[in-house]
Structures are given as structure tokens and as C-alpha cells.
């Protein structure tokens, strides 16, 4: 029994939007329209979109610095994401956070994080609230292979397991922590085995198979509601450099090209057409519409005002 057609369309559309968003963002850099930095998840779209799309509004997510897909999956507003990227007042963080800190509490995103592993402890607290209030919802904590070597990973998984907190820990293993290969930074190749050290269930999935990730997240949510935390590792690959200033001297073009062949969007597109669910024309129409969404977002962002200097002290403290 497969997913309904609408779900396939949603997953595909969000992945294309995410790809277009980031490709456009990269162009804006080249044009000198962006002041800060950004971390692109091109090639990893299926991870965040597959997981976040399987959640409800009331489920929380903690995003990473490379988490545009995680946010788009959770139905964040692309206009406000782009506005934040351009540092505008209409952005999610009023231009004060940039895309490393996009958050939308109204859809359950408790924020992206600039610190590797920084969201892990916060996730335990969000899940603690859910459990304390006897909610059925769960918290999804995104992090990467690099974060799984941080102390925060150990403390958080241990606490979540000891207290049976409803957290789904989702590790996007894209094989590199900035420039350092996982082969150099850990002695294991399957990060999901780390779960057993906490008495926790761990699974590893193909991180480029959006349909399977979506279905496994639905199952994982049920498991977490009933049993407490679980670790889900999504094995994928980062096509772009770490950030805008990465010369990528640490890996070969051949390796990158091999992974480009495994493009999650291409894979889903082929499935949708071959299965007869969508025609090539329908897919083209979705692609075109997604591209237009991003053009609209850029127009919105560019037309938005700059933050006001006199508001600089706003939100340092709550009243």
C-alpha cells in the first residue's frame, strides 16, 4: 500500500522548492546581495522533507544550520525564510538571526542552530514539556554526523532514554563534518549503532529515498510515543561545500558526481512518472510552479524593509 498521490505531490514539490531556494540563494551570493553565510543541503533534500512532512503542527522540530529542507518540510513560509536570508525585517528573525537561526514556533519549529549539536539538549526539554503535559506529540531533533561526536549527543541521548522522553533523534549523515570525513572522525561506519549504548532503538535508512523516510518517520513517531526515544540515521551526501567559502580540497569530483547520480529529487521524479501517478508534463508544471514560488520569495524579500536601528535592543529580554 503506497502513499496517497497528494502526499507524493507534497513531498516532491517541497524537495523542488528547497532545491530552487538554495540554488537561488547561491546565486544571490554570487551577485553580492547576501552579507552572511549559508549552508546548503542540496542533495540531502529527502531527509528533512521526508521526516518533517510526516509530522503534525504540534510536533516540535529542532533544526540544524543546514536545515532549509527541515523547515520547508514543516511548512515554514518560504517568503519569510528568504527575507531572513537577506536580513530583512520581515524575516523569521526580523533580520537578526540569518538562515542559521530560522524558526517558526507557529508550525512547531523551535529554531535552527548555529552550534553543532546545540539543539540536542533543547530537544530533550521540548520533549520533557510534551511528556509533562501528557501530550501525544513528539519532538524531532535534527543533527548531523559531526554532532554525534559532541558531548551534547551523549548527554542528550542518555537523558532522553533514562527519562523515556518522546524524542526522535534524526542524524543526517552526509559523510563530512565540514571537511573531515566520518572515516577520520569515528571508528564506526553505521552511526545508528550508537543508540544501543543508551538502551535505545536505532535504525539506518537510505537518506535519498524520500518515500521510505516519510513512511519510516510515521512508524517511528508511533514507536516514540509508546516507548521513548529512538535514533534514526539518514545516510546521504552534501553536494555543495560546507559553506560559501569551501574549496572542497578534501574530496574528489568523481565522488561528488557518483552521489549526484543518486539525486533524491530525480529518483522521486522517475518513480512518479514510471508508476504512472504523474505525467512528465504534470511534473514539469510542478517544477515550474516551485521555481516561481522562489522567484516570488526573492521579490518579497527584496521589497521588504531593512530592520530599524532603533529596534536593536528588542528581544534581548522578554518583558
Amino acid at each position: 500500500m503506497g502513499l496517497p498521490k497528494e502526499t507524493h505531490e507534497e513531498l516532491y514539490t517541497k524537495m523542488v522548492q528547497c532545491r530552487e531556494f538554495e540554488e537561488k540563494a547561491a546565486k544571490l551570493f554570487i551577485q553580492g546581495k547576501v552579507h552572511g553565510t549559508a549552508h546548503f543541503c542540496i542533495g540531502e533534500e529527502a531527509t528533512g522533507i521526508g521526516v518533517s512532512s510526516a509530522l503534525e503542527v504540534e510536533d516540535y522540530i529542532l533544526q540544524t544550520h543546514r536545515g532549509h529542507n527541515q523547515g520547508i518540510g514543516k511548512n515554514m513560509d518560504i517568503n519569510r525564510m528568504m527575507a531572513e536570508f537577506l536580513g530583512k525585517e520581515t524575516g523569521y528573525c526580523k533580520g537578526k538571526g540569518g538562515c542559521m537561526h530560522i524558526a517558526d514556533f507557529s508550525v512547531g519549529s523551535l529554531g535552527a542552530n548555529g552550534v553543532v549539536g546545540g539543539g540536542l539538549p533543547i530537544a530533550t526539554g521540548a520533549a520533557f514539556s510534551q511528556k509533562y503535559k501528557k501530550s501525544d506529540n513528539i519532538t524531532v531533533c535534527y543533527f548531523g554526523d559531526g554532532a554525534s561526536n559532541e558531548g551534547a549527543f551523549h548527554e542528550s541521548l542518555n537523558l532522553a532514554a533514562a527519562w523515556k522522553l518522546p524524542v526522535l533523534f534524526v542524524c543526517t549523515n552526509n559523510l563530512y563534518g565540514m571537511s573531515t570525513s566520518v572515516k577520520k572522525s569515528m571508528a564506526i561506519s553505521d552511526i545508528s549503532v550508537r543508540a544501543s549504548g543508551y538502551g535505545m532503538k536505532g535504525i539506518a535508512l537510505d537518506g535519498n529515498d524520500v518515500v521510505n523516510i516519510y513512511e519510516e518517520t510515521k512508524k517511528a513517531k508511533k514507536y516514540v510515543q509508546k516507548n521513548g526515544p529512538m535514533l534514526m540515521v539518514l545516510n546521504t551526501y552534501r553536494w555543495m561545500g560546507h559553506s560559501k567559502s569551501d574549496a572542497q580540497l578534501y574530496r574528489s569530483k568523481e565522488e561528488v558526481n557518483e552521489w549526484k547520480e543518486k539525486c533524491p529529487i530525480k529518483r522521486h521524479r522517475e518513480f512518479l512518472i514510471e508508476s504512472g501517478m504523474f505525467t512528465a508534463e504534470q511534473i514539469k508544471a510542478i517544477d515550474k510552479s516551485a521555481k516561481q514560488d522562489i522567484e516570488n520569495a526573492v521579490a518579497y524579500a527584496e521589497a521588504s524593509p531593512e530592520p530599524k536601528i532603533e529596534d536593536i535592543f528588542d528581544d534581548v529580554y522578554a518583558d
Binding site: Y92, G97, G118, P121, G125, A127, S129, Y132, A152, L159
Partner: protein, 326 residues
Amino acid sequence: MRTITYAQAINEAMSEEMRKDENIVFMGEDIGVYGGAFGVSRGMFEEFGDDRVKDTPISELVITGCAAGAAMTGLRPIVEIMFSDFITLAMEQLANQAAKNRFQFGGQAAVPMVLRTPGGSGTGAAEQHSQSLEAWVCHVPGLKVVIPSTPYDAKGLLKASMLDNNPVVFIEQKLLYRSKGEVPEVEDDYIIPLGKADIKREGKDVTIVTYGRMVQRSLEVAEKFASEGVDIEVIDVRTLVPLDKECLIESAKKTGKVLVVHEACQTGGYGGELASTIVDSDAFFYLDAPVKRLGGLDVPIPYNPNLEALVVPTEEKITAAVRELL
């Protein structure tokens, strides 16, 4: 008024507020049946149970982050970090997450949590259990920082901290836990607003600006000077962030002579901020002498009791510093 200890005052503040608001939860190492390393939470586990008084693993980073995450999602957690030295282990979550999440998320988050932790030397606990690290947290916008010096202040300031919608670092003084003082009857609820210094002794000749354990010591010095006809004003800052600058400035204008005293190492200590607050203001034109600082020596806290006592401001050192101003 009744007389209770500083530790009891803290326990009462937590317990009374927890009875009123079930969104308050309390977590930390050995705070449950054990009652906390300094016995501050005795009886709370029995009253509120395991759901609300949570013994945690020895994991300061995640305890702090868990509180921040819970605070961002509707609870009002209190965290106890067993010794303030161990905020070094929690610093990432405190400084990068709890302190910044409101600002960096464009005002979407509130992080109403209190991190309680005992600071200070004098117990023979040596280098890693005796520090006064308040300057570390005062340097991070988004945090509030409180250090009470009496049972009355401890109770009223802790209640204000628990009602505040921001992360508050509440640094207790381990050597004051057993000290006693007057507080109102239980039924006479009160809070002391954050950001208000307290003039613990009024005087006209010299101002001592201080906080925490050094307040009592400064008051003792002031009494001795009184017999010489020197009238010392002692200001207890109480809330380091936000700082009641006006109180300091007005006192400096009145006396024209200011000594800043704290236990923390002098270099980079909060005393620099207190002194600058005065020097940077129009009080500068009223000064009869340079503002003087007396902090702890710039050494780790040693174990030997004679050495330990001498690395922080003693009555003798405070007295000598006052004399230099006269």
C-alpha cells in the same frame, strides 16, 4: 518577622511558587531524596514528587539545555547546578542557546528559567569547587544575574527570578547557607524586583559597592570605622544584571569616595564594571579620589585554610583599602 536560614529562604521561595504554579519544575543533580548537595531542597521531593523534582544524570550541559527547551515550550524550570564552577560544563547551552534564543528567533521564544548555583570559597573545597564566576555570565546579553546576601533578599529575589520571563542565573553563596536573618511570615508573600540595589547601611563619607558574601564583611568593617567617626555607606548590588546604576552613581556623588569589593578574581571581575559605571557618569566630577577596586587575588582558590582565607578580601584588606581613600 521570623528568623530562618539563607538555605531555608531559598527552599521556601521555590516551594511556595511551585504550589502556586504547576508549570514550575525543578531539576538537578541529587536534589531529590538527598535534598541537594547543600541541603537546600530538603523536603521538596517528598512534597512535589518525581514528576516535578527531577534527579538528573551528572550532565550539566543537558540539564541546562533541557530546562531551556522546557522553558521555550511552556514550563518554568528551575535548575540546580551543584557548584557554580560547573557552569563551565553548561556554558554552551546557557550562553549560546538560553540567552540568545529570544533575540535570534526574532522574539518568538521566551526562556523563563532560573539556574541556581552556589558560588564562592571558604569551604576547603579548593580550586574547582570555590570559584566566583559571575563575570562570565554577566558578559552575555540575554541573561540576568542575581547574587543575594541575606535570607530576606534570597527569598524575595528568587521569587522575582522565578516570575521573570528570562533566563536568570541565581548565584547563591555557599558560606551563607547556614546564616540566619529575618524574613516575613509565610503568609506575607513578597518579591524583591530585579534591578534594585539595596543600601544596607547609609553613610556619608565613603561608599562600598559590593555583593554576596562580601556585604556582611563590608558591614562589619563599616561598624568599626563608625567608632572612628567615619561613616561608610554599604551598597549591596544584589542584581548584577540588570544593574541599578542610579543607586551607585547617587551614592558616589554623595560620598565622593568609592571602594568596590568582591570575592571574584580582580582581573576581568565585575568590579571593573561597577567602578566604570561610576567613573563613566557625572559622578566622576564629585570624586575626591580614584575609585578603588578590591577583588580576590588572581590565583586559583587554594586548599590550605590559611591560604584560602587570604586570597579573598578580608576585613583587614577592606579596612586598608578604605584607609587609602580617606
